[in-house]
């Protein structure tokens, strides 16, 4: 039981960081990214490529961050010109493109079978690392949330024209936040690779992105606490599938399929009955200082 708790806390922390990174983009900026699994995957593939080609641990980490930053810059190119729905499809397509390349080009990091990565063997150490990463990222996200950049992004989300009349460059603000959030997700991916000890394309499908979306919408977009609580809820459902299968006597496959339905149901029900999520975004009131 204790092992399970340690594992659950580790996974919740890692995926919370991904949810936070999505929250910075969607909650703050209103960018609909349907491929947030991509920076996570790019991060994870840093250590994987390093392990497959004999680079050191540090080189792997740097490689993960560089890959994610480069990926972020690439998908930003069309972001300025496309409407939301098209950009959502670009991000989804980019994530799938990377996954399919990893499946089909085995020399990069083992293809479909994936590749082994040096593992943080002590689960407690792994948990501490994951929680520490989450804490650091929460602080960073809070900092951005309360900063002038955060306020500008909120204005942008609500009314792009208004932001432009304020003399701000909307695209630059979105570019900064995209890079920050992609590096954030990449850090989670790097840690994920070292904790799981194994990187394969099957861990980075469209489905994974939507598990993060479910967590974010459930918790409440635009709320940092919401991102963590939503992730905790979704991950607990996710990792306890095995127990549910044992306890109910139903076949594991069926329970795994039903779990997917539960995620879908959560998404739909939250939209229908509690649009702001469990933890609604707080209204921020800022009083101009007297001159």
């Amino acid at each position: 039981m204790l092992d399970f708790l340690i594992f659950a806390v580790t996974m919740i922390s890692i995926w919370s960081v991904v949810a936070l990174s999505l929250d910075l983009q969607f909650g703050l900026t209103g960018l609909v990214n349907f491929g947030q699994i991509l920076p996570f995957a790019l991060g994870a593939y840093g250590p994987a490529i390093a392990a497959a080609h004999g680079f050191s641990l540090e080189e792997g980490i740097v490689l993960g961050l560089v890959l994610a930053a480069a990926g972020g810059l690439v998908v930003l190119v069309p972001a300025g010109r496309l409407s939301q729905d098209y950009w959502a499809l670009v991000s989804l397509g980019a994530a799938e493109l990377f996954r399919l390349l990893m499946v089909n080009v085995a020399p990069i990091a083992g293809g479909q079978d994936g590749t082994a990565v040096p593992r943080v063997s002590d689960p407690v150490v792994a948990m501490v690392l994951a929680v520490a990463l989450l804490a650091a990222m929460l602080l960073l996200a809070r900092r951005i949330d309360r900063s002038p950049l955060g306020r500008l992004l909120r204005v942008l989300r609500e009314d792009e024209l208004l932001a432009a009349t304020l003399g701000r460059n909307p695209f630059r603000a979105q570019a900064v936040i995209t890079l920050v959030s992609w590096l954030m997700a990449a850090l989670a991916g790097i840690l994920y690779a070292h904790i799981v000890g194994y990187v394969a394309p099957s861990s980075f499908t469209v489905g994974e992105t939507f598990i993060v979306w479910t967590a974010l919408i459930l918790g409440g977009a635009g709320s940092l606490v919401g991102a963590v609580v939503g992730t905790a809820f979704v991950q607990i459902i996710s990792v306890s599938t095995r127990f549910v299968a044992d306890w109910s006597g139903l076949p594991f496959d069926l329970v795994a399929n039903l779990r997917l339905g539960v995620f879908g149901l959560i998404l739909v029900l939250v939209f229908l009955f509690r649009r702001e999520g469990l933890f609604p975004e707080r209204k921020v009131t800022i009083h101009a200082a007297d001159p």
Binding site: L89, L100, I217, N257, L258, G261, G264, I266, L267, V268
Partner: protein, 294 residues
Amino acid sequence: MLQILVNSAIYASEIAIIAVGVALAYSVVRFANFAHIQYAVIGGYLTYTVRGMGFDLPVATAVSAVLTGLMAIAVERLVFHPLRAMRPEAKMIASWGVALLLRSAVASVFGGAARVFDIDTDSYLLGDAVVTSLDLTVIGTTVAAMIVLQLLLHRTRLGTGLRALADNRDLAQTRGIPPDRLTALMWFVAGAFAALGGTLFALETRLQPDMDLQILLPVFAAVTIGGLSSLAGAVAGACVLSLVQNIAIGIDFGSLFTGTPWYLPSQFRDTIAVAAMVLVLCLKPRQRRSSLVR
């Protein structure tokens, strides 16, 4: 070369008929419905099930199309209609929720095992290309369905109303066009087309719960290449996409450059589809207007 054209026509038919539904829905309700892919999968399974009860394939397909169309209306009533005032992004995310639910339902009911339609099929030689009677059925069904859709949109009162709704919702309403009824009709047509497409897809390959992943990328790639709200664009997108795919795998790059034969492995099919979509989106100007109106 002829074989490449034939293969492209078959694949394009399967994709186009599903893609048209996505474009039709987009032009009326203004969001990309990801659950549409599941409608195709469910349509395929329904056809299989009804046929298993002893009906002919055409009858089974018709029943499946009607049932899937009704299901699309039900989803609209239960989920999308209550969300109609929300931003398109929100509806798009909600449609993923619906997609996950439907996927889970299909996988739970039918299990993971693949199912194959066992049908007799004759093959013909067309020049140096092989065509089966099944291939001809697939292409013929799609062409017929497209003609019916065109007639519906351009020759009937309902179709005119639907086009008016797509063009300018408010204006259409002031002219006494009932938006809810026509939106329901639109979902019915979209759902029925998805069921047809899913059935054609399953006839050529097989039925399995994760066939949605095989359909998702090419369909959305086709629709985006053509412009999300354009029906003709969706069909053109499907044709371009399958041509690009089949040519890319059909060309002997090795002989072109080094002398030893080398083909791009066929598992790169989906990669090419996604790459084409991302490329077109990066290069193309801002999104186009609805062509339902023209």
